[in-house]
């Protein structure tokens, strides 16, 4: 099947999802990111790779961390970044999404970083660029609906590799609202590609999507049981804004059963790391004592996220 992310030479043309992303490309991104990490410590935190290129941040859905880190990553690569205020732009005046894209491409955009509440929007844009023969323009999915958030998935892989070195001996637990989480999906695909032998999903039945077992994931409804002997815990935010209907009695109830407390963390391996894609709800999915504790690597994830996004953009821009 044609993979819309790859060009005819098998190189990365767009980054849309971690699903089906070849292991060699994942490793190339992580290796390249490693060289970008140290740039943050230099006098001049910039390299000239994307000098003269224009990156358009199209965030149809709110985001602070992701948009900011994409902006920093673009600037450290010396690209020009244009942040579009979508709410006040032409789409609200009735212009279609693809007309907006064509207009921006006519302004010589080289890359679109797209976030949208609807799954599949970055695909739609990539397909449109292909159909209109604008193959010099690249698309990075910065989160689409419940579907995928590939740069978050890759920065999670970078973080795990940084602390654990080898993927092939790990037990990784993803905890909480997996149903609404594009991060969980991107993590699961990337973890599987990198050869993690055991991926667990922990959460109440109402917040676990169907088909997890088919993805090779072990499902646990009991948190204590699921956390036993894991090396990595990825806690997810309870996505109240995406919930409709009575999936949960209350946030307090959720914390009682699935909040990551120091007592529960003690069930994992003693050197287990705790990750969270942010924003955190303290006292809902994670206890402050854990979030601020020695095993949390949540702020490292943010720092690594810049380097991983630099790697993705610089690899795309040269293909």
């Amino acid at each position: 099947m044609h993979n819309p992310q790859l060009n005819q030479h098998g190189e990365l043309q767009h980054l849309l999802t971690t699903e089906g992303l070849p292991k060699s490309i994942v490793n190339h991104i992580l290796d390249t990111a490693e060289s970008f990490v140290s740039i943050g410590n230099r006098e001049v935190k910039k390299v000239p790779l994307m000098r003269g290129k224009s990156v358009f941040n199209l965030f149809f859905e709110n985001s602070t961390r992701t948009r900011t880190t994409f902006e920093i990553a673009s600037k450290r690569l010396s690209a020009d970044v244009i942040n579009l205020n979508i709410a006040a732009s032409s789409t609200s005046k009735g212009e279609t999404l693809l007309d907006t894209i064509d207009n921006l491409a006519a302004m010589h955009a080289d890359m679109f970083v797209v976030r949208h509440a609807q799954s599949g929007v970055p695909y739609l844009i990539a397909k449109h660029l292909h159909d209109t023969k604008q193959n010099h323009v690249h698309v990075v999915n910065a989160g689409d609906g419940r579907h995928a958030h590939p740069t978050q998935g890759l920065l999670d892989m970078y973080t795990i590799r940084h602390y654990k070195k080898d993927f092939t001996q790990l037990r990784v637990a993803i905890v909480g609202d997996i149903l609404h989480s594009r991060v969980a999906r991107s993590d699961i695909h990337a973890l599987t590609t990198l050869g993690v032998p055991e991926v667990r999903a922990i959460g109440p039945k109402t917040l676990l999507p169907g088909g997890l077992e088919q993805m090779g994931v072990r499902v646990f409804n009991d948190m204590d049981e699921g956390l036993k002997d894991v090396d990595v815990i990825i806690t997810l935010r309870l996505q109240n804004e995406r919930m409709s209907g009575a999936l949960l009695p209350s946030a307090q109830e959720f914390f009682k059963s699935y909040g990551l407390t120091p007592e529960r963390l003690a069930l994992a391996k003693p050197d287990a790391i705790v990750m969270h894609p942010g924003p955190m709800n303290r006292g809902v999915e994670i206890d402050s004592a854990v979030a601020d504790g020695p095993q949390a690597v949540i702020l490292s994830q943010v720092t690594f996220g810049i380097a991983v996004r630099m790697a993705v953009m610089s690899i795309l821009a040269s293909n």
């Binding site: 190189e11 390249t32 001049v44 790779l49 040269s318």
Partner: protein, 185 residues
């Protein structure tokens, strides 16, 4: 790829180290920075053999190359590491082979993103001519004139019985690029 000719890289290195040692008498705050990969091996040895006070620095110029738009990023980029304060330092920049000067330009640009050196001196085992930019080496062990299809490659042969880097032997081979897949040299 079968080499057309092999050079005694150890003898060339000895000559380069001798020239640098002579110059060190009237230089202050000296540091050595090697360009990956050949230059990095040379820098490592020069720091030991010439008793340089700063630890060696290493540069991977991939993020500063002028052919990125055509060639993209190489599959393996090594982290640049400059473990001393560049401001006011006299930096001896080391590459194995000096050719077009484009690698030198990229390396100098990168160094300036770490600070403002007092002086940069260029050292190279071989100057093979063919410059496309106005750079000249301050220290060079041998000058050659080679046609474009030939390439000089520095490799390190480690004696299996002794894996310490100090004991590894440098070999400089002349190869015909047209006879095989091109390297990024």
């Amino acid at each position: 790829m079968k080499p057309i000719q092999q050079f005694d890289a150890e003898a060339l290195y000895g000559e380069l180290a001798r020239q640098i040692n002579l110059a060190l008498g009237h230089l202050d705050n000296v540091a050595v920075v090697g360009i990956y990969s050949g230059g990095a091996w040379l820098a490592e040895r020069l720091v030991k053999d010439c008793h340089i006070e700063h630890p060696p620095g290493y540069i991977d110029v991939s993020f500063y190359r002028d052919d990125y738009a055509q060639k993209g990023l190489p599959p393996e980029v090594k982290p640049t590491n400059i473990p001393f304060n560049v401001d006011g330092a006299t930096i001896i920049l080391v590459d194995d082979v000096l050719y077009t000067g484009r690698t030198t330009r990229a390396a100098i640009n990168e160094l300036f993103d770490y600070g403002r050196p007092a002086q940069i001196l260029l050292a190279s085992l071989v100057d093979r001519g063919g410059r496309q930019l106005p750079y000249a080496a301050d220290f060079v062990a041998q000058t050659l004139s080679l046609p474009a299809n030939l390439s000089l490659q520095l490799t390190r042969e480690t004696n299996a019985a002794d894996v310490s880097q100090r004991e590894s032997r440098l070999v400089l081979s002349l190869v015909d690029k047209d006879e095989s897949t091109p390297t990024n040299n």
